[in-house]
Symmetry: C2
Amino acid sequence: MEVETPDAAISCDAALVAAFSVLGKRWNGLLLGALSAGPAAFSDLRRSLRGISDTVLSERLSELTHCELISRTVDPGPPVAVRYELTDRGQALMPALNELIAWSRENLPQP
Amino acid sequence: MEVETPDAAISCDAALVAAFSVLGKRWNGLLLGALSAGPAAFSDLRRSLRGISDTVLSERLSELTHCELISRTVDPGPPVAVRYELTDRGQALMPALNELIAWSRENLPQP
């Protein structure tokens, strides 16, 4: 006999679990949002994300690069310059981020 | 003389900061996603979000109730029953979560 589990009704969508394994981590959504304006250097991003430490920013950039949502390019210079930018996968997130922005404006107290 | 700051180009959208003050915290997005299927009891949610502890689930439910994204209703019974459900504000997030799901399916490894 098959037993219907209550899980079926409210189980978490696997794709949502995957999405929040990236975005449910502090700073990641904001970093991707900041890069939607175009390529940026480490120091630009640090300035944009007020309150992030260098260590955490480095970690997050490595994770997002590993997920292939951003790319890291080194211009050998001189002077050597490193820039980060959205990949196509990262760029594909922007419609969802814009929906989040619209929802936030309507529904959350703004900082 | 006005000086253009590089900040202008890549500053974080305040609405995105507000959105990720909620969603950039582990479990919150998944909790809201789980409640999109309808009202649920604490035990349903604990089962749905594999790996969350009772303490953290309680904290997250309180926070989301405080933000008025979910509501908590007590049916005096007997037996007493508590259910959580999306408010209109929480419900309004669903189009954005659906965009995230679509993006995740196309762009992230699925668990």
